[in-house]
Amino acid sequence: MASNEPGVSGGGSVDGHLSRRGFFGQAAAVSAGVALVPPAAAVAAAQPVEAAANAGLVDVAFKVNGEPKKLSIDPRVTLLDALRERLGLTGTKKGCDRGQCGACTVHVENRRVLPCLTLAVSLQDKAVTTIEGIADGETLHPVQQAFIDHDGFQCGFCTSGQIMSAVAVVREGAARTDDQIREAMSGNLCRCGAYPNILDAIKQVQAGDR
């Protein structure tokens, strides 16, 4: 059992107390009825209950931003909920939770994907990169800097997804014209309509690339 791993205790409690976010995380991650106990105990208590209910917790180990994480989770938990509610990485945003908006975009094995449609249990041995993992220490990733330089956001809700998508688009290298960049970024919706500035930000990074 991985209950002493940072991955399990990290998301649920703050200094041993249950945070609001941690509470909902546990409620989502573990079946209702065993949610009001600290994470490690919840995992232990959940085991026989869940086994009887034909849906035991599953152990999964993967890397997030280079750090190994181990979780014991209900197979229903998406990578998005695991990141936000179990691992405390709330930079990744939940927009639609249906694969339709791109706000949650992260990288798995260096490819941009949607964690709201990814079951966390399916990530055994995989490497996940989130918005928290792209800066180099205190130095922002060039795409982060370019979003600031060009005001690539207003409310900011879509921004971490936009940046993760843009990092991949620059790396993929296939989109060069404005229309190609717009097409490549079309899986990331922005309710504030920051699209022209996002386009400028991406072009700045590409110009620096060449």
Binding site: E50, N54, P75, R76, R98, G99, G102, L119, S122, S186
Partner: protein
């Protein structure tokens, strides 16, 4: 989401052995997880197939062979596909988004479920989701629904783009069950709704799609996919057309055409193909031929525009691929 147990086998035999009533295979999850969250699909057992050795994109024995687990993005960008089968690459690149194409597999794409809103809403009746409960789309919201192949039981479109390209190119799916492999033409793999819209294809619950095979042909090299939609990107088709042409001295020698967004399955348009053959490659030929595309169409209150739109989509796609005006 309902509770389920999870297994991740590493061989096809093991995956097939794990199937039982209430089991579902998980590939990219972009259909399955979405519909599980909506309680439209409620498997008790999820069998993750991503560790199965069903990869590879290669030419052999006169066929392009695509492993069922190849991702949409990988197939679209593959040099062989781009050069020999541009219609496949284009249909994929006009599908979904960059993120979804990195996740979604070719096998899963062919088995994606309809986007009919009633199907996705468990509080609504729907014959496909709950046989015998009725089809509210017949008299309700049906702007995006099918005009071809529909019945009074169901008018939902099949939403895959690449399946339209595959049907035009006479692709086959290789299906593996405990008893071995079957090879089924994709066009026949899909079934019309009739009175049983819940049965969408020939796949048994204990069978896997392992491969898609597309015959190599001179036609496929001169091919394209045109998709018309409400917004320019990241949207399903209102109408779409896959065309492949072979021309000699300005005359159509042979043609393959299929349509999407209009049928309850990817819709091969043989009558249009026949009307093109032997005639000069020009707009008049194309528009005359396109007339027969909508024979037997059964438009509903809000989607009659697709009758005209389909014909125009065919003409424009033919003009594009023939390089004429």
């Amino acid at each position: 989401m309902r509770a389920f147990d999870y297994a991740a086998p590493s061989s096809v035999d093991e995956a097939l052995r794990l199937t039982k009533p209430g089991s579902a295979f998980l590939a990219g999850g972009t259909t399955l997880v979405d519909l599980m969250k909506l309680d439209v699909l409620t498997p008790d057992h999820v069998i993750d197939v991503n560790r199965l050795p069903l990869n590879g994109i290669r030419l052999s024995d006169g066929h392009l062979r695509i492993g069922a687990l190849e991702r949409m993005s990988a197939v679209a960008a593959h040099p062989t596909v781009m050069v020999h089968f541009p219609v496949i690459s284009r249909a994929l690149l006009l599908s979904a988004s960059g993120q979804l194409r990195n996740m979604a597999s070719i096998g899963g794409n062919l088995l994606q479920r309809t986007r009919c809103d009633y199907f996705r809403d468990v509080t609504a009746p729907c014959n496909k989701r709950q046989p015998g409960s009725g089809c509210p789309a017949q008299t309700g919201v049906n702007r995006t629904h099918a005009i071809l192949g529909s019945s009074s039981s169901c008018a939902a479109t099949h939403a895959s783009d690449v399946a339209v390209a595959f049907v035009a190119l006479e692709a086959m799916v290789v299906v593996r069950g405990r008893g071995g492999d079957r090879i089924v033409p994709l066009e026949d793999f899909y079934l019309l709704p009739g009175n049983t819209p819940q049965v969408e294809n020939q796949l048994g619950p204990d069978e896997l799609i392992v491969e898609v095979r597309v015959p190599v042909s001179p036609l496929a090299r001169q091919s394209t996919y045109l998709k018309i939609r409400d917004r320019q990107s990241y949207e399903f088709a209102l109408t779409s057309v896959a065309v492949a042409l072979s021309l000699r001295r300005g005359v159509v020698l042979d043609a393959r055409i299929a349509a999407g967004g209009v049928g309850t399955k990817p819709w091969r348009l043989r009558a249009v193909e026949d009307a093109l053959k032997g005639n000069p490659a020009m707009e008049k030929t194309f528009s005359d031929a396109a007339e027969s595309a909508v024979d037997g169409a059964r438009p509903l209150a809000q989607n009659a525009f697709k009758v005209t739109l389909l014909k125009r989509t065919i003409v424009r796609a033919l003009i594009d691929v023939a390089g004429v005006r």
